[in-house]
């Protein structure tokens, strides 16, 4: 029986999955946002692992070696759980609830998915070799570091493949050429945004764990290690987040040029409040992070006016960037209320909440002060001015705040990006509301035209 005939035969037996589009959306959103947290931690964590293990080896630093061991265990455990989420999402949620969209996506992006699958296998091999043979590999340290780098490369290839897919969904090229769609307008900015963001996120998670140990552990040696972990993770978190204003700006610029409706939705439309909350979280990461650096140096007995000024500037920028551009949910509400005037003239517009120049100035300030603060802090560290174990409750709370803020911003960004395409799942190609309205193909397409012909068979009813 040919595939088209099979489809024609089973079509009458296919049933609509008995849940609404809203619930289906929420299920996928929850699962994928959770998966992104794990995947980002993996990808960023692998390079931190390789760097730390290398430093521990070359500098004969037992603390870094011990931390690397702990990190590889954490990465192994989170990989198992995060991968299970992804596999469940693909096999059940995408194929079951969003089959037309997913089949269409796989048909166009078949090769990126294949590449991702191969790199996934590579990741499994490298990660579990490290996980199970860690102590043996200590005798061949170069091989261990090499495996860690290979692990990072595998994860980066997967990220590249999925970024191609994600960016395509937002800004597809009019052409059906895979080559052209691989480098669609938002692919490179998204790739850079995630590459940097994942390392920052992994650093923030490490800082969060350090903060928890500072706050809740009673053993001095565990607190001391938590103190060092927190500082070490935060360096990555701040060091990589400081590049995000530039990359994020460019990413938004490309969305504005190539998917204006999505850009409008994010910046001025229904998602603008969520976007404002996102920049609020960005401000929180910088301000609380720099505040930690300042207070941590002070705990070592050193006053640092430069860090105090950086904290103050960051706080001022946080206030500036968190100011809404209007006292309304969206710009449409402002126009509808005929209140496109500054608030002192009876309107709803807050001039210093505008993107240009105010939010732009705040973003540039964040980057500038973060570079200065990190430089000053690291100078204190290299001079040996800090003792690990001194950190108090304020430092622990600051580290946890940064970790939670970065985690929230990751989830929120995913929500904003995916929702900005509404009503499309793939911009101008696949609609959200097409998903539950299955129409059997009227003519037989080419035999096994990718997985599209079979992917829509939903086994919720008896199939002959």
């Amino acid at each position: 029986m040919s595939v088209p005939t099979l489809i024609a035969a089973v079509s009458p037996h296919l049933v609509r999955v008995p849940i609404s589009t809203g619930v289906a959306s929420a299920l996928v959103a929850l699962l994928m946002l959770a998966h992104i947290q794990f995947a980002a931690f993996q990808q960023g964590g692998y390079i931190i692992l390789a760097v730390t293990d290398f430093l521990g080896w070359k500098r004969k630093d037992e603390r870094q070696t011990r931390f690397s061991r702990g990190l590889v265990v954490a990465l192994g455990a989170t990989f198992a759980f995060g991968s299970a989420l992804a596999i469940f999402a693909v096999l059940v949620l995408f194929l079951g609830l969003w089959s037309q969209f997913f089949v269409e996506l796989v048909r166009i992006m078949f090769w990126p998915f294949v590449v991702e699958g191969i790199a996934f296998i590579g990741e499994i091999v490298c990660l579990y070799t490290l996980y199970s043979q860690w102590d043996r590999l200590a005798n061949v340290r170069s091989l261990r570091v090499g495996l860690e780098l290979l692990l990072f490369i595998n994860a980066s290839i997967q990220m590249l493949a999925i970024d191609v897919v994600a960016s395509y969904m937002l800004t597809p090229r009019p052409s059906n050429s895979l080559a052209l769609n691989l480098i669609n307008p938002t692919e490179i900015p998204l790739e850079m945004h995630r590459f940097v963001g994942n390392i920052a996120f992994a650093g923030a998670v490490i800082a969060l764990v350090g903060g928890i140990r500072i706050l809740f552990s009673r053993k001095p040696e565990v607190r001391a290690h938590g103190d060092w972990m927190g500082h070490y993770g935060l360096i990555y978190a701040i060091g990589f987040t400081l590049a995000q204003p530039l990359i994020g700006w460019e990413y938004a610029k490309e969305i504005q040029l190539h998917a204006y409706a999505s850009w409008y939705s994010m910046m001025l439309g229904g998602l603008s409040v969520a976007f404002l909350f996102q920049v609020f979280l960005l401000g929180a990461i910088f301000t609380v992070g720099i505040f930690y650096l300042w207070r941590r140096v002070k705990l070592g007995g050193y006053r640092s006016p430069a860090l105090a000024v950086c904290t103050a500037l960051s706080f001022a920028s946080w206030l500036l960037i968190s100011t809404p551009s209007s006292l309304a949910w969206s710009y449409e509400n402002v126009v509808a209320a005929n209140a496109n005037l500054p608030i002192w003239q009876g309107g709803l517009i807050i001039p210093w909440g505008q993107m240009i120049p105010f939010k732009l100035v705040a973003l540039i300030t964040f980057t500038g002060v973060a570079i200065v603060a990190l430089t000053v802090y690291l100078k204190h560290v290299t001079k040996g001015n800090l003792r690990w174990g001194d950190a108090g409750r304020a430092q622990g709370a600051a580290l946890i705040t940064v970790g939670v803020a970065v985690s929230l911003i990751m989830a929120l960004m995913g929500y904003i990006r995916e929702d900005s395409r509404a009503p499309f799942l793939i911009t101008n190609k696949v609609l959200i509301n097409q998903q539950q309205n299955f129409t059997p193909p009227s003519s037989a397409g080419p035999a096994l035209n990718g997985p599209s012909s079979v992917g829509i068979i939903v086994p919720w009813d008896s199939v002959p």
Binding site: I188, M192, I371, L374, T375, T382
Partner: protein, 406 residues
């Protein structure tokens, strides 16, 4: 163990070559007595260099070799190239289609420029990371930065000479950008264009800058760079100074007293005047320099043969839909140009930001005055430099993305 027949063979060789060898040796002695070639060779080749990390130090020699290659290939191109708006493109078109040797030479000139920029970049990164700019080598760092800027200038002026579409519209963009400089912009634009509009004089001026003005500045600066290098010796990197900070004063003094030429480098931070472990420049370092330089020249040759140098259609000022794409080494600047879309902000993007960056690069030796050489103990320069490098890479990638998706 030597063979019993060796003495006999040596005597035979000496006997056979005597009619030629004796006059040659006498001639060399005569010239040497008058020119001091032996002394000069001895001075040039016999010096000490740091032993560890020696392959990384070959980047400087490789830069010099490629600059020489550029000069030689440039001279060959002058035999055919005509610097006029009516004949420049024709002469290069002739090379590309009727003169295979010249086409390869042209390809080597282009790829030589690309490789040169990469190698200079790596050389500067190596120098920066190792803290080789620290006293007494501050002046040499400044000269190196000036050389880098001149090579960039040579790159952009050279790109305009073919007078094809790419060259013409690059010249339009470059001379247009200059106009954004407050007060002086219009005057500078007219100087570069040879008038208010693009014309024959524009090409002549860029040609003169490319083959006369910049080389005339470049060559003396290279000489100064080498003289300063010989004066202070190669610093190497931190791996050549392990333990110097904690060594006893007597040991340090003894090391200084026994230092081979050109060490000790004075004035220097305590312990850093002489590397701990030294090697001979000849033959050890010369061999490594030769291998790296040969490999690079080979790569340039292969790229010239396989890829060659592109030549678009002849310049057509009426083709207003042509989108000029900058040379890859100007992609970050091109991206900065579009990131400041409003006219009054463009000078900030293309002059103020790069200007501040260049000034800071020149001032690095005076901003980083601590005695530390290890990169992880110098966050005050390493963190901003890392960010600046990432910034340039990101800007280049974003420019590629923008140009590809136009």
């Amino acid at each position: 163990m030597s063979s019993p027949s060796q003495p006999g063979r040596s005597a035979l060789v000496a006997k056979l070559t005597r009619p030629v060898a004796r006059p040659m040796a006498a001639t060399y002695r005569w010239v040497d007595e008058r020119m001091g070639i032996s002394d000069l060779t001895h001075q040039l080749l016999y010096e000490a260099t740091p032993r560890r990390g020696a392959w990384a130090y070959s980047l400087g020699s490789a830069t010099l070799i490629i600059i020489v290659l550029q000069i030689v290939t440039g001279m060959f191109l002058l035999w055919t190239y005509v610097p006029s708006t009516t004949e420049a493109w024709e002469s290069l078109n002739f090379i590309e289609h009727h003169d295979e040797f010249a086409a390869i030479v042209r390809g080597m000139h282009l790829w030589g420029a690309y490789v040169l920029l990469i190698i200079i970049g790596l050389h500067m990164i190596r120098t920066f990371v190792s803290g080789s700019y620290k006293k007494p080598r501050e002046l040499n760092w400044i000269v190196g930065v000036l050389l880098f800027l001149m090579v960039l200038g040579l790159g952009i002026t050279g790109a305009m000479l073919p007078w094809d579409q790419a060259a013409y519209w690059t010249a339009i963009v470059v001379t247009h950008v200059v106009d954004y400089i407050p007060l002086l912009g219009n005057w500078m634009q007219q100087i570069l264009r040879g008038g208010p509009q693009m014309g024959p004089e524009t090409l002549t001026r860029f040609f003169a800058i490319h083959i006369w003005l910049l080389p005339a500045l470049l060559v003396p600066l290279i000489g100064l760079h080498l003289v300063l290098l010989r004066r202070h010796g190669e610093h190497g990197s931190w791996v050549n100074y392990e333990g110097v900070e904690t060594e006893p004063e007597e040991v340090r003094k003894e090391r200084m007293a026994k230092a081979e030429y050109p060490y000790p480098a004075i004035p220097s931070d305590p312990g850093y005047a002489v590397p701990v472990d030294l090697d001979d420049f000849f033959p050890s370092q010369v061999f490594k320099d030769a291998v790296v330089s040969f490999a690079l020249v080979l790569i340039i040759f292969i790229m010239a043969v396989v890829v060659g140098a592109p030549l678009e259609r002849a310049a057509n000022p009426a083709a207003l839909n042509y989108v000029p794409t900058p040379e890859w080494f100007f992609l970050p600047l091109d991206q900065l140009l579009v990131q400041f879309p409003q006219a009054w902000m463009i000078p900030v993007g293309v002059f103020v930001v790069p200007g501040i960056g260049t000034t800071l690069l020149i001032l690095v030796p005076f901003l980083d005055r601590s005695p530390e050489r290890e990169p992880w103990r110098r966050p005050e320069v390493m963190v901003p430099a890392l960010f600046a490098t990432l910034f340039l890479i990101f800007e280049a990638l974003l420019a590629v993305n923008r140009l590809f998706n136009l």
